[in-house]
Each structure stands twice: as structure tokens, then as C-alpha cells.
Symmetry: C2
């Protein structure tokens, strides 16, 4: 049974200001929730329509009907469970190795996919400009498939961070050098830009090495790559000889 | 001004059976529509809320209000234009070079992203199992960003096609050989599998070379890659030395 106050609280968590105020976020579906339970996230409550999560203490479990779940879910077709977790304190940036920097990524699905890619390629630190979509946005959490617990994500003033980083800063640009022909290091920062505008002018000035993914299609009309697929290709190139 | 019959027709086109019956599909937004106008697609009508598309003959243009556009749009936040195009006759499969084969891709966004990737990497032929999501699904069309006009997409019995292809058939599997260490050919078929189940058993038997994208993350829990990002990495590897 879910109370009116709980419904109000959870549905509010789709908004960043309420997530910030309550220091809570939620995730849906057994796969994502299981992964988060195996990470450092502290569970508040899990709402479930059938018996599941045998290792979760009873006082954190709330049995609900399907129609109750529908009231708290952010999905058009709700799953069979939804869990509320505490938002942890942001950990300090862990430099060293390869770091991904996101310059105003706005689409939650893209950020989620990028986090999942970092997890796959063993990138443990992402730094995001303050305008980048919030990592605890429910759509981001779903798209990460739970890998959110294994990558450290920091929001900061990207321009000031990069200008003080003292390391190589890579960025993808149409006119950059062919990424397939470059000797890529195992340390450095890789900047990916906004979906519509790419890397902003102020950040471009801090990029020490411009790279590009060559286009093999014939027509000039070919659209640029989506930022998540570009990230996949760039990370694969940096890691393939590692 | 959009008529009641037009509203009924266009909103029906979100369903495959009505697209098939009328041989029509639609696209939204000036960027995608412009790309389709530059391809071989035959325009039926374009509905627009402000003057645009100066090269389109007047009798194909319908000026509408924003509230009228909302009635025909499939987007939660409609753009400023929507265009209806004829679905062309399916062209015969053009073998040779690299061909992508999709074994039951169900997510429209994934198919759209994969088409866009093929366009980028100069793959001009995609073959899809009959269960793969329809390429004229509005969400697929949007996600292709217009590159749908530059890649030939054929729906067929994948098992029977592959068994008669007489060429190398690559497929991604967890236990496959490290893709980064393989000498990859410039001809062959690359199979990508369903989002939840991967490549089906019957198709697996027809794969002549199993490959895998190595995982660099530390934890066993790391989820598999999303099929669109896996496609990005695989195509990049096949093409990087081309």
C-alpha cells in the first residue's frame, strides 16, 4: 500500500529541484534496481507488485497493486517494481587515466548510454558541465541500466576545470585529425559536445588536440553522428590498444 | 487548414497496417524533411505553421495552425512542420561490400540510429528479419535524421538469405574472438541481434565468424552494450583500415 504522501514525494522526484531538496531519486525495473542494490546506493524503499528482492529487509519493502505502481511510475508501461534511493554526496573528481568531459549533453538517453559505455570501457570518471542533464533524472537512470553505480560523475565549471587540468584535452571536431591514424594516450580528458551545437567556443579554446571520426558515406548531406554513438567509437579507439 | 480526413489518415500512419494500406509515411521537423526532399522520396503534402520549403510546389503545401499541427503530430512537442511521403517499392537487395543484417531489432530508436551509422560508414544495404521494427515507423524515421533515403533496407527471411549468401557472416557474441585483433574483410555480412535476446539460435548456426567487443570494466556485473552503440564500434572497426 502506497500512501498519498509517498505518491506526491515520488512523482515529484522527476523534477530536479525535488530530487535536490529530498536527496532522493528512483529507478524502475528489477534489472536496474538489482544493479543499484549491488552498488553503494542506500535504499529507502522498494515498491513491488509481486514477491521479489529476498535480500532486502522487510521494513524497506512495500507491496503495492499494479494500479498503485502506475501512480508512482514515470514509465508509460510500468514495470513490476520501483525503488527510491538516497542521492549520495558527490565524491571528489578522481583524475588520472582517461576522463570523459561532457559539455552540455541535454538528452537523458544520451547521458545514460554514455555512462553505460564508460562502465564498459573502464572509464571511472565523467565530468559534466553544470548545464548537462542531471544524472539522477529517471530517464538517465533507466538508460544506464544500473552502471550509474560504477562511474563517478561530477558536475562542475568545465571551463575552469579544463584550464587547470594540466593534461591533454581531446575534442571531436569535423576538421580534427583522423582518430584512426593517431597514437592515442592512456591518460587525458576527452570532451564530447552538446547534441545540437557540439563543443562550445569557450571549451574549444581549451582543447589541445582536435580529432575526428572520418565519414565514409558519399554524400555531403550525411548528418553528424549522434553523440552517444560518437562516444562509443572514440572510447573504442582509445581503448583498443590498451 | 487540415481536413478531418487528413487528420484521420495521418494519425493512422503511426500504425504499420495503415502505412502498408496507404503506402504512405510521415516525417516531422525541417531538418529531416529537407533531407527526405533531397532523396528519392515522393512528397504527398507538407503541413507547415510558417512559410518554409520554398522549392516545394504550392499545391503540395498546406498552411496549418499550431493547434492543427498538434492534431496530426506524433511528437509530444510538435515541430513546425510535418510531411507525408509515398513509401517506395522495395528495391532488390544489393549484395557486395559490407552488408548489415538485423535479427529482430525491436526498438525504433535503435533502428534509426543504426541506419544513420550505416549512412556515415558508407554501408548501403541493410537486411532485416521480418520481425524487425518497420523502417517507416515515425520514431525510426525521426531517429535516422533523414539518412533513410541513402541506405537500402530490405525485409526478408533472414535465415534463408544467410544460408544462401555464400559469403562470410560475422556475428557479435560474448565468447567471440576479440574484434580488435582480427583482420576484418571489406566484404561480408555483419549480424546484430535483438535487444533482449541477442542473435537467435537459428541465425547463430549460420554465423561463420563469432566476434566480440572486449569489456574493460572491472565488475562482472557490467551490462552488455546497447545494440546501437555495439553497431557503432563494430562498423568503426570494419572501416578503420578501409
Amino acid at each position: 500500500m502506497v500512501s498519498k504522501n509517498q505518491i506526491k514525494l515520488i512523482t515529484g522526484l522527476v523534477q530536479k529541484k525535488y530530487r535536490k531538496q529530498h536527496r532522493l531519486f528512483f529507478a524502475e525495473g528489477v534489472k536496474v534496481i538489482e544493479e543499484l542494490l549491488h552498488s553503494d546506493f542506500e535504499l529507502e524503499h522498494v515498491f513491488h507488485t509481486k514477491p521479489m528482492f529476498v535480500n532486502v529487509p522487510e521494513h524497506k519493502k512495500v507491496s503495492v497493486s499494479e494500479s498503485e505502481l502506475k501512480k508512482i511510475s514515470a514509465l508509460t508501461t510500468p514495470n513490476d517494481c520501483l525503488a527510491v534511493f538516497r542521492i549520495p554526496e558527490e565524491k571528489p573528481v578522481a583524475p588520472g587515466g582517461l576522463v570523459l568531459a561532457l559539455d552540455d549533453i541535454r538528452d537523458p538517453g544520451n547521458l545514460g548510454t554514455i555512462i553505460r559505455l564508460c562502465d564498459w570501457f573502464g572509464i571511472s570518471q565523467i565530468i559534466c558541465s553544470e548545464q548537462t542533464v542531471d544524472v539522477y533524472n529517471p530517464k538517465v537512470v533507466q538508460a544506464t541500466m544500473g552502471s550509474i553505480g560504477r562511474v563517478n560523475i561530477s558536475y562542475l565549471d568545465l571551463e575552469s576545470y579544463l584550464s587547470q587540468s594540466g593534461t591533454a584535452v581531446f575534442g571531436t571536431f569535423m576538421e580534427g585529425d583522423n582518430i584512426y591514424k593517431e597514437a592515442l594516450p592512456t591518460e587525458g580528458i576527452i570532451v564530447l559536445g552538446n547534441e545540437a551545437n557540439g563543443i562550445s567556443k569557450s571549451i574549444e579554446g581549451l582543447v589541445t588536440k582536435k580529432i575526428s571520426i572520418p565519414r565514409f558515406g558519399n554524400l555531403q548531406l550525411t548528418e553528424s553522428l549522434n553523440v552517444a554513438t560518437a562516444t562509443a567509437i572514440v572510447l573504442s579507439e582509445f581503448k583498443r590498444n590498451a
